[in-house]
């Protein structure tokens, strides 16, 4: 699966309070949450992000709270993928579970500049900066996670497994 979009670039430790501030958590409506996406870090983001855009960030992206509202609102805002040097572990799980692709690639995270056109081939983890022609290789997903991603998230993955278990029993 190929993703293309414009890069938004941020630094280290982009935390979940920055992605979606606590004051907006009295709703679970993705569209409502998306209106405030990254508001305290970059007030221009929510109004200017285009469907397909890609976030490039430094270390420990998504640190802080376990709120799944964070990947949910990024996805609802139109973000197609997050590329970072490293991810906080709860955010990483949440993103995979919801089907928001996240790629660990320190080289790409450092080199890609804001506004560049980025292409990501999810099946291989290849990242291309179309403005510079540079090509990067993201860390491959462990097999365990690939199965969840292939199923479209943890809920469909679990349903598939549950059905398989029922099927094998009859």
């Amino acid at each position: 699966m190929k993703l293309t979009g414009k890069a938004w670039k941020y630094g280290d430790n982009v935390n979940t309070d920055a992605i979606i501030p606590g004051r907006y958590l009295s709703t679970t409506d993705p569209k409502e949450l998306a209106k405030h996406c990254l508001e305290d870090l970059d007030p221009t983001f929510a109004s200017q992000v285009q469907t397909g855009d890609i976030i490039i960030a430094g270390k420990n992206f998504g640190c802080g709270s376990s709120r799944e509202h964070a990947p949910l609102c990024l996805r609802a805002a139109g973000v197609s993928c997050v590329i970072a040097e490293t991810f906080a572990r709860i955010f990483l799980r949440n993103a995979i579970n919801l089907g928001l692709p996240v790629l660990e690639c320190p080289e790409a995270a450092r080199a890609i500049q804001a506004g560049h056109r980025i292409e990501v081939e999810l099946s291989t983890g290849q990242i291309t900066d179309r403005d510079t022609g540079q090509i990067f290789q993201a860390k491959p997903y462990p097999e365990f996670m690939l199965k969840i991603i292939d199923a479209g998230g943890l809920v469909p993955h679990t349903m598939k497994q549950t059905n398989a278990a029922i099927g094998s029993g009859t």
């Binding site: 009295s26 906080a88 943890l154």
Partner: protein, 420 residues
């Protein structure tokens, strides 16, 4: 083969003789937790799974604490949804106000719902708090929790363990909060990313349960998956006073493999304060300089327990909160509140000019009951000082222990108790 405490608990719950860091396992969970913010998403995902019911109604806990009592209509509707789900499924562990309610990470240990040797997952990052009991306890998202509510199982990658050893004599007014802030500033906010932290040494052996909860609570602020303590007489005494449920005690093998061992001589550590906007941005209070403040908050899952309130009361007793400062004190749960009443702490707080609130997460996440305005500064006993965490994007949060927070409330600026 030798294993750490974390590895032993995970091996036992995966039905394996042995696990090593990096192994992917599917583990049985003993308790699954969500709160009023994360449960609504989890309930939605649970319903999508289309399963007949919970895997075990005794092993799912729901706590209304973040925006509870409901701060507005939207929050009330979320709380209502969670309450309805709890009733529908006959949850054994549902907490909303009353004699047992309060903040999830204060309530569950207090009610004996989480025990040593267990695997606990919660849709709240501070679920790592229960590592203080010698459990493997970690925060996850709502979807992970929904699947665990249905299946009683969860996939995990076995983390490496870092061991932290604390030796020496603690200085006056220095406690668990200072040790964990000092540790996070040493290793950084991603210093233990994907790893488990194991706390030990003579200082830890002498520490009470409340302090251990404080330290385990903030393991996630170093990026850790879990923060664990060895079970000892202090743990067993705490647990046996609260429940008769059986549990298994695991210990790290003496020759277990650690990714890193850090030793700290605590005698040199002063009360710490984390400046905006990261918990690792810590310095000794004596080097804070002149920082006037607008609010003090004493409470939360980090420092809302009875020992914390006793510390604050020792400082506030017979003194007055500066007239420029709102001083908000919120006991972590109803049990703590009642004990504080019995000991006269609440009277001390009100006499000193502090406001005492209903058990809730409230101000910690900028929810309610003490939200910061533009440019306001708060000394807080909570766990995060990110941009906008407690309110306006241009407000500032300084993290400290309850005694430092109380001293700051009296002097109207960041201050050490020794200055009074």
């Amino acid at each position: 083969m030798a294993m750490t405490l974390a590895e032993k608990i995970l091996a036992a719950h995966a039905g394996l003789e042995h696990v090593s860091p990096g192994d992917f396992i599917e583990a049985r969970v003993d308790m699954v937790l969500a709160n009023d913010i994360t449960a609504p998403l989890a309930i939605g995902q649970f319903q999508r799974l289309n399963v007949p019911g919970l895997f075990d109604r005794q092993r799912v806990a729901l706590v209304q604490d973040h925006f509870a009592p409901p701060k507005d209509i939207a929050a009330a509707n979320q709380c209502k949804l969670v309450r309805g789900f709890a009733r529908q499924h006959g949850l054994a562990h549902y907490y909303e106000g009353g004699k047992t309610g309060g903040i999830e990470h204060v309530v569950l240990p207090e009610q004996g719902v989480v025990l040593p040797g267990e695997v606990i997952i919660g849709a709240d990052s501070h679920t790592c708090t229960y590592g203080a009991l010698g459990a493997f306890s970690t925060g996850m998202g709502s979807t992970d929790v929904a699947v665990a509510m249905a299946t009683g199982r969860i996939w995990m990658k076995v983390p490496e363990t870092i061991r932290f050893i604390y030796e020496g004599e603690l200085q006056p007014w220095v406690g668990a909060k200072d040790l964990i802030l000092y540790t996070i500033s040493d290793i950084g906010v991603e210093g233990a990313l994907y790893q488990a932290m194991e706390f030990g040494g003579p200082v830890i052996a002498a520490m009470g349960m409340d302090g251990r909860f404080t330290m385990a609570n903030m393991a996630v602020e170093a990026g850790a998956k879990a923060g664990l303590f060895a079970v000892d007489d202090t743990t067993l005494d705490y647990v046996r006073r609260r429940t008769g449920r059986p549990f298994t005690v695991y210990h790290s093998d003496p020759d277990a493999q650690y990714a890193l061992v850090r030793r700290y001589g605590v005698s040199q550590i002063e009360p710490q304060i984390a400046f905006p906007h990261l918990p690792s941005n810590t310095r000794p209070v004596s080097q804070a300089g002149h920082v006037p403040i607008d609010q003090v908050f004493i409470g939360s899952c980090t420092n809302g327990r009875i020992s914390d309130l006793r510390q604050a009361a020792r400082v506030l007793k017979g003194r007055q909160v500066d007239r420029q400062v709102r001083c908000i004190i919120i006991p972590g749960d109803a049990t703590t509140y009642r004990q504080a009443l019995v000991e006269g702490l609440i009277e001390t707080f009100v006499e000193a000019g502090a406001m005492v609130g209903t058990p809730s997460c409230g101000p910690c996440l900028g929810g309610h009951s003490g939200v910061l305005g533009e440019g306001e500064r708060c000394v807080s006993t909570t766990n995060r000082n990110f941009v906008g965490r407690m309110g306006h994007v241009k407000s500032e949060v300084y993290l400290a222990n309850p005694a430092v927070a109380a001293a700051s409330a009296i002097l109207g600026r960041i201050a050490a108790p020794a200055e009074l």
